[in-house]
Amino acid sequence: MVSKEEKIGWSVSDMARNVAVDIPNGSYVNLGIGMPELVAGHVPEGREVIYHTENGLLGMGPTPEEGQEDPELINAGKKHVTAIPGACYFHHADSFTMIRGNHIDICVLGAFQVSETGDLANWSTGAPGAIPAVGGAMDLVAGDIKIFVISRHTTKTGEPKIVKNCTYPLTGKKVVDTIYTDLAVIDVKEDGLYVRELAPGVTFEYVQERTEPQLKQYS
């Protein structure tokens, strides 16, 4: 465990850009609440990506100008959004058809913990007295949608978030495809976690020290 906060690695904006470059043109993408929302601001030139928000909108656009908000046009995080030309609205059962039926291509989520086999914990810390709230997280990871996790590499207190086994209640088993942290981009493969890219000035060993399971390198 490494507790000292250090100023190396990617910024949150860099992390969002790293995710965005891995999203192909024409993808249908669901963005989780929080850091995942930043990904929409980094779509590379020439690509068109369509955002799904599970509360019933395909073709979610950016935040409206002040004064233009419609309290009945919001995203899953209950923030005001807009709709692009070519958008459409639908009810909740149809919306989750797009998720459960694997029509969405990619989902970008935050995480409390990711295990070395790609188990994800992002809905409950299991703390006694906490109000459990799951929302659509379990539906999003249940199918064959590619799951990209965007998260700081360690907790605020320096604990690894990439662990051998999740200690928090699971959202889903073997569901994460790639982890985008401030230190590295890590692919979750059948046989382990592969570091695909390191942040500038960050070494493999530096990342390994902050990661519970053994990391691998592409040969």
Partner: protein, 237 residues
């Protein structure tokens, strides 16, 4: 003649009985039928089981219904939001039951309730605490959980426009759970911003066919929950 239009929210909710199962539309404030909920508070029915995605904000709408101890049990996917204080407090004191359901499973259980499907299988929640105690089964090498349908005695929803047959159209993401909740209720009660003549709604664009609706009341200028919460209003006022 068929006429599902009633004169007031109070009349619309008059038949809701103690112990009823009530579905309430809305995702956050979008689509929340706040005038119907307030009429239900006035009406007094208690020991309700409420099915709604959230538990309301501040001390108006669904949160006020809960604050008045009318709700015995909540079935929802996300019982806390930035401004939800009522439910968390009662829950932590053990004064209200909670059945937590993944959002897509909640939607499909409601839709199946309206569709005459008593149970279905879903991959959602397999291997998680929310699947504990539930029957699982393999199909084509993958594991699924069996989920039972949900039906309600009443649904309360909000829409943009309605006609006397009960045909409905909605506004943007305020649609959310309303169409399937209308399907799954014995009596679906709707507050509409506008009531229009038969034929004014495009038959290709009707979202909820009138067959799923029992009562419609016009509420031309519904309150905005977020404004009421920002002003710390409490119902009844």
């Amino acid at each position: 003649m068929i006429n599902k239009i009633v004169a007031s929210p109070a009349e619309a909710v008059a038949d809701i009985f103690d112990g009823a199962v009530v579905m309430i539309g809305g995702f956050g404030e979008a689509g929340s039928p706040i005038e119907l909920i307030h009429a239900l508070i006035d009406q007094g029915a208690k020991d309700l089981t409420v099915i709604s995605n959230n538990t309301g904000s501040g001390h108006v709408g669904l949160a006020a219904l809960i604050a008045h101890r009318r709700v015995k049990k909540m079935i929802c996917s996300f019982p806390r939001t930035a401004n939800s204080k009522v439910f968390p407090e009662l829950y932590q004191n053990g004064e209200i039951e909670l059945e937590l359901v993944p959002q897509g499973t909640l939607a499909e259980r409601i839709r199946s309730g309206g569709a005459g499907i008593p149970a279905f299988y879903t991959p959602t929640s397999v291997g998680t605490p929310l699947a504990e105690g539930k029957e699982t089964r393999e199909f084509d090498g993958q594991t699924y959980v069996m989920e039972r349908t949900i039906r309600a005695d009443f649904s309360l929803v909000k829409c943009k426009a309605a006609d006397r047959y009960g045909n409905l159209v909605y506004n943007k993401t305020a649609r959310n759970f309303a169409p399937i909740m209308c399907m799954a209720a014995e009596t679906a009660i709707v507050q509409a911003k506008q009531i229009v003549e038969l034929g004014e709604l495009d038959p290709e664009a009707v979202v909820t066919p009138g067959i799923f609706v029992s009562k419609v009341v016009e509420v031309a200028d519904p309150a905005e929950e977020s404004k009421l919460v920002a002003e710390d209003r409490r119902y009844p006022w």
